[in-house]
Each structure stands twice: as C-alpha cells, then as structure tokens.
Amino acid sequence: MTSSSHVLDDLAVAPVDAIALEGRAAELASRSIKKESKRQGLLMALSMTDLTTLEGKDSPGKVAALCRKGMRPAPGLPPVAAICVYPDLVAQASGLLSGSTVAVASVATGFPSGRTDLSVKLDETRRCVEDGADEVDMVIDRGAFLAGDLALVYDEIASIKEACGKAHLKVILETGELATYDNVRLASEIAMQAGGDFIKTSTGKVAPASTMPVVLLMLEAVRDFYLSTGHIVGVKAAGGIKTSKQALRYLAMINETVGDLWLTPERFRFGASSLLNDLLMQLARLDSGTYQRPEDFSKD
C-alpha cells in the first residue's frame, strides 16, 4: 500500500465549474433513446442493477424474496448484477444466490454514517466477506474529509480494501454531504488512489443522493484515472433513481463521456429498488406497444 502522505502531497485536482458541469449533464439528459436502442438500454440497466434493501425492518423473508426476484426478474430477462443488504443478512443471501451470477454486495463500515471506530469497521468488513459477500460498499469518513484530514480518509479506504481480500470494494462518497463538486472530485481521487474498485455516490439515506452532474464528474474522474494509470475504476449511482427514463439518461451520459469500457455491469451499477419494476414495465410496453399497469408486476 502506497503511503497516504506520498500520494496526497502530489494530489491536485482541476477546478470544476458547476454551471458548465450541470449544463453538460442537462444536454446529455436530453438524449432521446427510442425503439431498439431503448430496449438495449433497458436490458443494460437491468443487468447493471444492484437490487437493494437497507431498512431497519429487513428480515430473512424480505431478503429471500429479493434474492429470488433478482435472479429472475421476469421470464426471459437476465438477472440483476447484485443483491445489496446489511451485513447480518449476507450469509442468508449468499446461500440463496449461490450458483447464480448474481453477486452478494454488503454495506459495511458503520453504514450509513460511518461514525464508529476503525477497528469496528474492519471487523464488520471481514465478517461480511467471510459470510460470502462478493462486494463490499463502504462509506468514507465525511467528518474527517470536511475537517481536512485527507490522510485519515485515504488510510481508512486502504485498510478496508485490504480487509476485503478477494471481494471488490465500492467506496461511498456520500456526495450529498460533501456538498461541492470540487469536494466530490477530490474524494473520488482519494478513493481511487487508495484502491477502491468502484466509487459510489450515496448511501441513499441522505438527500440529494445521485444526480447527473455528480455522476458526470465521477465519470470524468475515472476516465482521467484510467488514461493516466491504465486502471479502470467503476462507478455506482445510488439513491433517487426510480425510473427507466432516468436510467437511460445515465447510460447516455456514460456512453458519451467514458464510452464502451464502462457500459457493462462490471464497471457501472445502479443502486436501486423500485427502478427494477419500472424497467420491467417499460420493457413490457416496448414489446406490447401499450402502457402498462404497475399491479401486473410482482411487488417483490
């Protein structure tokens, strides 16, 4: 592991112009995706979905239903990318998903606030991985970040990455709390340098969660990182993405900013729950030509 001070001394990120960034995101959001390209897009979005449940009232029954839905959203359709749950439900999910291509993702590190000791975060991470998590979604220490202790932020990410072993690490920046685009860019750089496999926008517990300008900025960050190091870091947009329309806009943004290397579940994910049924509805509408009824799709 490269020492944080060495990395952080050299770390400099270009300024971000918020208005222009938002303008570009709005342009990309105005793309009109129709017919076969829409179908392709919807299927891509489906296969990029991390089907998520993160509620205090989650129970084994809920998780079981979610896993079954994720493996087989509807006849003839591909499975989702992953199921995302709280750490104590990983073992069950892992059992249900074994043999399928659907990965088990677990939040960890004192999700969502992260306000607990590093030793607790590491312990939690190791347990998740032992229980069968393929992917770990950690949260960065936003308090430390905003107080300027970037070394702490970096070191934590690097240690959690180590604790992940073979599991992939997604680093949640919680962009809503970082507040400025400059902060998001800086946090993205730190996460990538420290070894994150994915950078992720949000826990979904804080508003605003994922927005197009923020994800555009993160795509620019991973693009530049790839061009200068050859290493591809993925991006996960989580929170607030409920409709196919939104998902297609994000895909257009990926398509025109970073291109084909990220148009795959290995490099882009949607963290969502209700998105899935809207994707199913829109696919059904494309096939049948008529507007659909939510009741015709299973709630879980």
């Binding site: 400099a12 222009a20 960034l21 793309r31 340098q193 291109g259 084909d260």
Partner: protein
C-alpha cells in the same frame, strides 16, 4: 497548475483493454450501443406551397410576380416558393408602415403596445414546436437547438420588451423620448426567428413600425411570425415582411421614408450600407462579423472549458457572428487540452437536423459551404494542421465535419478571416498580457471568452479586451436583458437590455445626427 498524479497501481487487477498503437490506455466509443433515429414529428407543421409578401396586414403577391425556392439544406429538397420583393413592394410596405406609425402605433397608449407584445410572446410560446421545426427545416440547425434555444429566446425577447413599452420614462430618466418612425431591418440566415425577434420587439416597444427583410435562404419563420401577428390582431402595417434577396434589402436601405436602418450580417455588406446612408442623417445600427478569441488559462476547469470550446464553435454549425473561432490556449496546457478536445469532437453527432439527438446540422447553403472549404484549403496550404471528426456525413445536402486547426499563427488567413463554419483555429500564449494582445489583434471586436478559476484575472482581462460581449467560464449565452453588440468592425449599437432601446428612440435633447 500542478500536474496531476500519474501513479502506477501495484498489485491491482487493473485492466488495460483499450491499448492503442502506442500502448497507452485508450477509450472506446460507439461499438456497444448506438441510438436509434429519433425524428421530431412534423405532422403539425402547416407549410404552404407558396408564400406572398405580408404588407399592411394582408398577404399579397409581389408586383413583379417573381419568386424563388427556399430549400432544406440537409436534403436539398424544396420547401416552398417565396416572393421576390421588388422596389414597388418595398415602397408599398414603407408607405404602410409610415401610415401605421403616424396614425395608429405612434399615438397608441404605451400600455396597449405592451399588450400586443405580450400577446405575441405568448403566441410564440404556444406555437413553439411548429416554429422550431420550420427553423430547422429551412436553415439546417438541429431541432434541439431550435427548440431549446432559438424559439424560447425569441419569445423571451418579446416578453422582455413588452415590459419596456410603458416604462421608457424609467429607462432614460430626465429625457423625453419619441419613436424614430419607420425602421427598415435586414436580418441574416443563422438565427432567422431570433434575429427577427431581436429587431422587431424593441422597435415596436419604442413606438416604431417595421419593414423587415428576412435572409434569402431562411424566410419561413419570419413569414410564420407574420401569421402570429395576425393572430395577435396587431394593427395593419405595424410590421411588414418583404422577402427577397440582396436587391430587396438595397431597396429598403435606399428608401427615403425609412428613418432608421438596422442590419445584422456580414461586415462587407454592413460597410456597403454605411456608405449608402452616408450624408443622409439616417440612424443606423450594425451587427457584423467576428473572430472571437476564446482564451483558456492553465487553471481553467478543463472538462468544462472543453464543453465551452465546443459550444463556442460548433453550436449552430459555427454560423455565429460571436463564435469562439480563435482558441488561445495557455502553452503549458496545450497538449492536454488538444487531447481532450479532439477526443470530444468525435462525440459530436452530425446529421439529420430533425433528429432529436443531432448536435450539429447542415451548412446553410451551397455558397456558404464553398466559402468554408476555400478557407480550410487556405489553412492547409499555409501549413496549419487540420484535425477533423471521424463522423460520416450524409450524401445529400450541405455538410462539413467539425474541424480543428492546430499550429496556427495570427498571420494565417484562418486566424484573421471569419470562416462562419465549424472550424476552430488554435494558437498558444504564455502570459495574460500576451493573451490580451493576441485577442485584440483583429479588426473585429464582437465577443470573447475567458476560462480561468481566478476572478481577479477575469476582471483585469475584461477591462483590457476590446470586445462587446465577454463570456467568462461560459460561452454563447444570450438573454434579452443582456446588451449585445460589437466594438470596431464588428459594428455599432447594442441589442437587448436598456442600452438596446436607445437605437429605437429619438431623444428631445440629442442634437447629434448620425452619418
């Protein structure tokens, strides 16, 4: 700016699948997912086969019975037949405008003039989709631009100026103002509807009446605007539309009963008009060409600056008088910026203007295409290096690829002459002083752009740059409240804002006369 870190990752499962010839990481675009055509429907557009002149509230064939075709530059198909207004028609229009001004529009209560302008603004909003389609069909610009920029701004101009009609005493406190009278207005083909709005709205708000000559290749939206005037019940003769070519414009400029001329177009024609009016004491405003410097400092927000550059020169196919056509980039970031820019221009979708995903449309006419080609050939002949987008161009119609010239110096033709197309010329500078000097080293002075993170620098540069509009960390932004116009040979007079009203008013205490 400190160079960005280029850390080598150790023991990571990093991929490097897109390796190019020099084994550096490469991005890949367009092979995994392509967009299906997304055509804007035009069923609701009522295109007539033939259009007459709109004079004194009525449609009438031109006295000389001459007409010409207006063509869709993306397909070369004829859209409609349009009247060639002759001297007699211009005379009829000016006479009607004169009568309307003296008897109806001039004496009307300002509040009522405002009412008509508000009505027109609303009607433009209501018929916006139709107008946007017509604009793209007639001129070649993408429907997304007509729909999202041209038409909303046109409505906004009428809305904004409606609010001035009864507040002129506030705009120029202490002065008694009166209308100028009959104004003759000649507009270009790059923003046909918007230029009509920029001209007509302030003229009417100040109590004048109008004879407008739209550009030869793009008459349709002005003619449909006339239909809107009818729907708004605008009194006869207040606005008259006389279509035709340069000869029609000349008749209008030379007509003795026109009190003021407003012209937007090429510097060459503007100079001609100024010569024609010399010694007549008539009021004149000119909005002419430009060769704007677009300056990028090393502390600029790079990705956003790239978007600004693209917007600056490829918006509306570069058919923009204030286009950022000379890129002045700080030498230390030249290579990095070029790499990003040249990757970016390949993402510009060039094609059918009626497709909602098109970013750049057709060149307005065969003549304009030839002018662009001539200058681009000169650029290559003079040793500048041409980079072009790898896009495929349609077979029919007038098209040019987004193009960037590097290794340009101020002495090259492509750095001095207005190309009026999607062609960017790139030069470097080292210090702010040098940037100012190079930016000002032109006979033009319409606009400029500056990208830097430092506010003080923006203000220092702006103070020294000889340009009428300076965009900072943005480009090609327009608003009816923001005065627009040039320094030096880019013309004189301003459009928009309080300043824009001046040209359309007589001040009781102004003793000076134009000439």
């Amino acid at each position: 700016m400190t160079p960005r870190t280029s850390q080598q990752k150790s023991a990571q499962n990093g991929q490097h699948p897109g390796g190019g010839a020099d084994d550096r990481p490469q991005l890949v675009f367009g092979e995994r997912w392509t967009y299906a055509p997304a055509p804007q429907s035009t069923d609701h557009v009522t295109l007539r086969e033939r259009y007459d002149l709109f004079i004194d509230g009525a449609w009438a064939a031109p006295k000389g019975r001459r007409s010409f075709d207006t063509v869709n530059p993306a397909t070369e198909a004829t859209l409609a037949r349009v009247a060639q207004g002759g001297q007699a028609d211009v005379h009829k229009a000016v006479t009607a405008a004169n009568r309307a001004q003296r008897e109806v529009w001039g004496p009307m209560a300002p509040r009522d003039r405002a009412r008509y302008l508000f009505r027109i603004a609303r009607l433009i909003q209501e018929r916006s989709r139709e107008l946007a389609c017509l604009e793209s069909l007639d001129g070649g610009k993408p429907i997304r631009e007509s729909r999202d920029v041209d038409v909303p701004l046109a409505a906004a101009h009428f809305f904004y100026h409606a609010g001035w009609a009864d507040k002129l005493h506030l705009a120029f406190p202490g002065s008694k103002t009166a209308p100028v009278g009959v104004v003759g207005q000649i507009i270009p083909w790059n923003f046909p509807l918007l230029m009509a709005a920029w001209k007509i709205a302030p003229a009417l708000a100040c109590g004048n009446t109008v004879v407008l000559k739209p550009a030869e290749t793009t008459p349709l939206t002005a003619l449909h605007l006339a239909q809107i005037f009818e729907q708004a019940e605008l009194p006869d003769g207040v606005v008259n539309i006389v279509t035709g070519d340069g000869r029609t414009g000349r008749c209008l400029v030379e007509h003795p009963d026109v009190d003021k001329v407003a012209f937007t177009g090429s510097t060459a024609v503007g100079q001609q008009i100024q010569r024609t009016l010399a010694g007549t004491g008539k009021d004149l405003t000119l909005e002419l060409g430009g060769k704007a410097a677009h300056i990028i400092f090393d502390d600029a927000a790079l990705d956003q600056a790239v978007e600004g550059i693209v917007k600056g020169i490829f918006f509306n196919q570069g058919h923009v008088c204030c286009a950022g056509s000379r890129l002045l980039v700080q030498e230390s970031i030249h290579d990095e910026l070029m790499r990003r820019l040249l990757t970016r221009i390949d993402r510009i979708r060039v094609g059918d203007p009626m497709d909602k995903n098109t970013d750049m449309g057709a060149i307005n006419s065969g003549e304009q295409l030839q002018r662009i080609k001539t200058l681009v050939e000169a650029g290559e002949a003079e040793g500048c290096v041409l980079h072009q987008s790898s896009c495929r161009l349609p077979k029919k119609g007038f098209w040019f690829k987004p193009s960037v010239f590097t290794d340009v110096s101020l002495s090259n033709r492509i750095a001095r002459e207005e190309i009026f197309g999607p062609v960017l010329s790139v030069m470097t500078f080292r210090t702010p002083d040098e940037a100012v000097e190079k930016a000002n080293n032109t006979a033009y002075g319409l606009s400029a752009g500056i990208w830097t993170d430092k506010g003080a620098r923006i203000l220092w540069m702006a103070e020294r740059m000889r340009a009428g509009v300076i965009w900072n960390n943005t480009f090609n932004r327009f608003d009816p409240a923001s005065p627009f116009g040039g320094f030096k040979e880019s013309g004189f007079g301003r459009e928009g804002g309080r300043q824009g009203l001046q040209a359309y008013l007589r001040f009781h205490d102004d003793v000076l006369v134009q000439g």
